[in-house]
Amino acid sequence: MAPEEERRPDDLSSTDLTVLLAQLTKGDQQAASHLIPIVYRELRQIAGRYMRQERPDHTLQATALVHEVYLKLMEKQPVNWQSRAHFFAVAAQVMRHILVDHARAHLRDKRGGGQAHLPLDEALVFAPEQSTELVEIDAALHQLAELDLRQAKIVELRFFGGLTVEETAAVLGISPKTVKRDWSVAKAWLHGELKQSHGNVVEEVGDN
């Protein structure tokens, strides 16, 4: 999921992006792997730009950031609603990766006292006390994926990507009703898992 190579967004015209999104909408997962590095790079750039403005009172949620990436990449190419949802789906995946990575690094840092390399250190900070829970949620999500892949995907889209029920339904090609149902079950299930693991922090949370 991490960007093996960083293709610059400029390398791709916005037409290419539209094509990628169209492919994605049709279910071509290859397209996602092309999009991820672009989104990743943009996320970092925009986050960095915000931070350089040094406005301590400025807050933005990550999903707003994702939105801005979207606007920047897609502004010249009005795309349809479904494509937009698919874009956010990719972004949700990227966000999850970045955040969980960051949370792990933060926890390692806290334990070891050493200086960890945090890709977005200067930019994205969730309340540090959330590190533990984020890592836990991520781990539990991996488990949930084994039980019910679709539910795990729904959580990723909704929680990390901030997608609405309707958008989530569009991405997964299921009904909003199903999304709502699965989301409730997944929430309940995850809640239970997190309660169980409460107290066991990082040690058990490997890359499973």
Partner: protein
């Protein structure tokens, strides 16, 4: 956990069906299904988790702030522990990103206080602490009853904490709880919040994070703004600030007595940070903030109080962000039709994306807030210049005198919602609606109208959306003094349905009747319900003859389609709770589902009419009329009256329908209102007063009934009674947007300058927002010959109407002004204004008045062109063709110097010439023009008789400038008949009225010359 995928699917399915049950109901539900023990256990566990999880995962996990890597260590104090040698911990209250709050007792001053700590790690940073102190100091400078007071800053083991006022109550967020706040409370809180912001801004302190969670409502109902501690001093934004986590953050329900909320907050990863939804666009963009940014957030809070919904919503922050940067929220009044109009405007202004377009200061916003009166002055048709059409849904049900039985003629019945354990939601509202339609055709039964049920629920502080259960129906029944309630139920019996109806005396609990019928199919349910309903009618005492006469079964009336009936029922419900726009899509759907659904078309016609879509309204009403064989008697009356009122404009036919309606259902107020209007149009004000009085008696909680009755008394020159009627409305707390205007006119007529001044000054406080009053004040000026002032006020009325988004009305004021100019001889001015009005809007009434203005200004060709167009488009419209068009034609003939033709043309208008809607402008024109024509024809006596009518109808004319001009014309008529004495008197009368008139007004000079001549 090893769960097979098949089991997992079962688990999900069972979970879903049990999800909405309360924890208490779950066990029984699960027990009832013979489930695999593992599945049973897992579903039970998941449901428990689900209820515990609440808004777990409901907020996105991160916020973007400058990095502040600091571990969080929660302070942990136990009750009894003493901090700073003074504060004894009572208990933990809440925690959030900005720290932890405890309730403590001040052992020196013996009062409770709240202690707020920063997260320890954050506080350990000396720079952060400095900032924290600075902010606390800034906020402690604020001494205001509506700002949570900061007493001091304490220190415990090196950690600073803020000592502040301990509040009991709840946050506004909790108070709103997705429901609109009662207007009265809303305004009270709004004034307090505005006042607090004004005070803070005056000291250069911004809040920066105004939102419902940061506003506390005390038990006594006062607002307290929290967390001014996060404010920064204005003007210091450019200074580089310490890196900290001190960005505006979610504030937990500080001090809330509800600890559950706080606890939930603690478990959420990623507390909702600096909730984007209330941010001003500039804040979202990271620009510098100023007082206007707080006012934007305040506007968003007002919006939420008014509607129960966030102004900028979205599951994803991105969506919210997008909305607040670029989209206008759904107008609040669409979501809450009872919202005072002034408040809607204030919210709109506060939520402007550009700061320059918003309120520039809290003081300014506060001034506007103070002018908003609670009440429900929204959604009424402004009766300007033309007919006031009163159409409302058929919600009035009454009964015939009949032989005494279970129910007597005075007894009222409350319909409860159906108990529906079938799980088939289509039955939820439809059965009640179906039964209501069915029972309402009976002239014997008196069913408590939805309006009155809602009114009662509001009195009881209940939500209008909740089902009227047996308990609730019982309470409503008792409180309204109704006799009985009708409880319905539907349940499954294998593949069959069992429908039950039970009538219970709500005063003593006696069962009056119980019926049960069985339907073998879903499609049969409505028919069977009808059977049961008919039996209930009989048992409750209705005569068989009456039942036979008023007994249209649902498949022949209403609709046989359950889903169409469902859409229709929801539409009616929405219309009551949210207003016309909310009903529209559902009605459209209802007629899609059943294209023969006459009542749905009729309702659509009414909704379109109220939304100003007159063409669509007429189309829908015509469709309803074509299908009117498929309705009950009552529905037919409704459709017929709408048809003649809206589609054809045939007054007499409309009146006949209302007569019939009154005969059949003598206790409905609607026919009385509309027949009274008809009398008023014919100038039969005594009859009108009787009719309006009867309507008022039938519905004494309807402000319109007072308004129309008072206006009718004014038309009868019975000013004392008019005043008393308005007072009655006032005493009952009833408000109507036209009441200030009518009171003002009454002040004018009774020569009560205090009364007028009261409205004058009220209007000036309102920053020119009441265009009715501004226009009426312009009339008063014109009446006294102060034409320059009149013009100025007219212009302001037009501007105010435009600002209120009321284009049609702005144009109305403009044509009204144009006509006035024409009457004093300023023809070019009149022409210009009428043209400008037509550029603004084009309605039938507007065109009519513009044509008259053109004709009076001598612009015949334009007048005639409009007349032809109107005549072609509204060929059957009685008032247009028999009153207005002849009047305009007469004006044209006068301009062409054909007075005789003018007089004969005006014959058509005779039946209506002294009439008009109770509240209206520009009345008695046919009389005035006939007088002018007689003058031109050198018939002094005949002319004098006409002008004398105007003088005699002083109440009707009120401050319309014709009232003053009539004296001048009367004088001319007398002079023509060689009656110099009376001519002189009338001239003096006129000159007295115009004594402060513009010196250079040509008419004034003419009058003075004429007077000199007569002498």
């Amino acid at each position: 956990m090893a769960t097979s995928s098949k089991k997992w699917e079962t688990i999900k399915a069972v979970f879903e069906s049990a999800q909405e049950l309360s924890p208490e109901e779950i066990a029984a539900f699960l027990d009832a299904k013979s489930l695999d023990p593992e599945v049973r256990a897992e579903v039970g566990r998941l449901l428990a988790e689900y209820h515990e999880a609440e808004d777990f995962l409901s907020t996105p996990p991160v916020r973007l702030v400058p990095s502040a890597s600091s571990p969080s260590i929660q302070q942990n104090f136990s009750p009894g522990e003493i901090l700073g040698e003074r504060f004894r911990i009572v208990g933990f209250v809440a925690a959030g990103g900005m720290g932890v709050v405890y309730k403590a007792e001040d052992t020196q001053l013996h009062r409770f206080v709240a202690l707020k700590f920063l997260p320890a790690a954050v506080a350990r940073d000396p720079q952060v602490e400095a900032r924290f102190r600075r902010e606390a100091q800034a906020a402690s400078a604020l001494n205001h009853p509506n700002i949570c007071t900061i007493y001091e800053i304490g220190r415990h083991q090196g950690q600073p904490f803020i000592v502040m006022e301990f509040l009991e109550g709840q946050t506004l967020k909790r108070l709103i709880n997705s429901q609109p706040v009662e207007t009265e409370l809303l305004l009270k809180l709004a004034l307090e919040i505005g006042d607090a912001l004004e005070a803070a801004h005056a000291q250069g302190i911004l809040h920066r994070d105004i939102k419902p969670a940061n506003i506390f409502v005390t038990q006594r109902g006062h607002a307290k703004i929290l967390d001014f501690g996060l404010a920064k001093l204005v003007g210091r934004t450019s200074e580089p600030e310490e890196v900290s986590a001190s960005a505006p953050q979610h504030s937990p329900d500080l001090h809330s007595r509800d600890f559950g909320d706080a606890a939930a907050n603690l478990t959420i990863p990623g507390l909702a940070i600096g909730t984007v939804a209330y941010m001003s666009p500039e804040q979202a963009r990271g620009e510098e903030l100023d007082a206007r940014s707080d006012l934007f957030s305040f506007g968003a809070v007002l919006y939420e109080m008014a509607t129960g919904q966030q102004a900028f919503r979205g599951k994803a922050t991105a969506v919210v962000f997008h909305a607040l940067l670029g989209e206008d929220p759904v107008p609040a009044q669409q979501l809450n039709s009872r919202l005072p109009r002034g408040l809607q405007r204030i919210i709109n202004k506060a939520l402007q994306k550009q700061r320059e377009a918003r309120y520039q200061s809290a003081t300014e916003m506060l001034a506007d807030l103070r002018t908003v009166a609670p009440g429900r002055p929204w959604g009424l048709i402004a009766p300007v210049a033309a007919v006031l059409l009163l159409i409302s849904f058929m919600v009035f049900r009454f009964i015939h005198p009949q032989r005494s039985h279970a129910l007597t003629e005075k007894d009222t019945l409350v319909l409860a919602d159906f108990a529906n354990p079938t799980g088939d939601v289509v039955f939820n509202e439809t059965l009640k609606q179906g039964l209501a339609v069915d029972l309402e055709q009976s002239p014997f039964l008196n069913i408590l109208s939805d309006e009155k049920v809602n009114q009662q629920l509001r009195f009881m502080g209940r939500s209008l959306d909740q089902p009227l259960t047996r308990d609730l129906a019982g309470q409503v029944c008792q409180r309204t003094g109704s006799k009985a309630m009708l409880l319905g139920s539907i349940s499954n019996l294998g593949s069959h349905y069992v429908i039950g109806l039970k009538a219970v005396n709500c005063q003593n609990g006696d069962s009056l009747d119980e019926e049960q019928v069985e339907a073998s199919r879903r499609e049969e349910v409505l028919t069977k319900l009808h059977e049961a309903g008919t039996k209930v009618r009989e048992k409750l005492g209705e005569s068989l003859a009456s039942i036979r006469r008023y007994d249209v079964p649902p498949e022949q009336a209403t609709t046989p389609s359950l889903v169409a009936l469902q859409a229709y029922s929801q539409a009616l419900r929405n219309r009551f709770s949210k207003g016309d726009p909310a009903a529209l899509p559902l009605l459209q759907r209802a007629v899609e589902l059943d294209p023969n659904f006459a009542m749905a078309y009729a309702a659509l016609g009414t909704v379109y009419f109220n939304l100003g879509e007159t063409t669509l309204s007429a189309d829908a009403v015509r469709k309803a009329y074509a299908l009117r064989e498929r309705v009950t008697e009552r529905e037919k009356l409704y459709i017929d009256s709408s048809y003649y009122g809206v589609a054809t404009g045939e007054l007499e036919k409309e009146a006949r329908i209302y007569e019939e309606w009154k005969e059949t259902y003598p206790r409905d107020q609607l026919p009385y209102q509309n027949l009274a209007l008809y009398s008023s149009l014919l100038g039969q004000y005594e009859n009108a007063a009787a009719g309006y009085g009867k309507a008022l008696q039938l519905d004494p909680n309807n402000a319109l009934n007072y308004l129309t009755l008072a206006a009718t008394y004014i038309n009868l020159n019975r000013f004392t009674e008019a005043r008393a009627t308005l007072n009655d409305a006032h005493v009952r707390g009833l408000e109507h947007e036209l009441i200030p205007w009518v009171s003002y006119l009454l002040g004018f007529l009774q020569d009560d300058s205090r009364e007028m001044n009261q409205w004058n000054s009220a209007a000036s406080i309102q920053e020119e927002s009441d265009d009715f009053l501004l226009s009426s004040r312009s009339d008063t000026e014109a009446f006294h010959g102060r034409l320059r002032n009149a013009r100025d006020l007219s212009g302001r009325a037009v501007a105010a109407a435009l600002k209120n988004g009321e284009k049609e009305r702005a144009a109305d004021w403009q044509t009204h002004g144009a006509l006035r100019e024409a009457e004093v001889g300023n023809f070019s001015q009149a022409d210009r204004q009428a043209s400008a009005a037509l550029a603004l809007a084009t309605g039938k009434d507007l065109q009519t008045m513009a044509a008259l203005a053109f004709a009076r200004a001598g612009d015949e060709s334009r007048a005639l062109a409009i007349m032809r167009d109107l005549n072609r488009r509204f060929a059957t419209d009685t008032l247009l063709n028999r009153y207005w068009l002849p009047t305009i034609q007469a004006a044209v003939e006068i301009a062409r110097q054909n007075p005789e033709k003018a007089i004969s043309t005006l014959q058509a208008a005779e039946p209506y010439e002294l009439g008009g809607p109770p509240v209206s402008l520009d009345t008695l024109y046919p009389v005035y023009l006939r007088g002018i024509a007689y003058l031109a024809d050198h018939k002094g006596d005949a002319a004098a008789a006409q002008f004398q009518k105007i003088v005699d109808h002083r109440g009707r004319v009120a401050n319309c400038s014709l009232g003053a001009l009539a004296y001048l014309q009367l004088a001319r008529a007398y002079v023509l008949s060689e009656d110099k004495k009376r001519g002189q008197q009338a001239l003096q009368e006129f000159l007295a009225l115009w004594k402060d008139g513009d010196r250079d007004a040509p008419l004034l000079r003419e009058a003075q010359r004429e007077l000199a001549h007569v002498k």
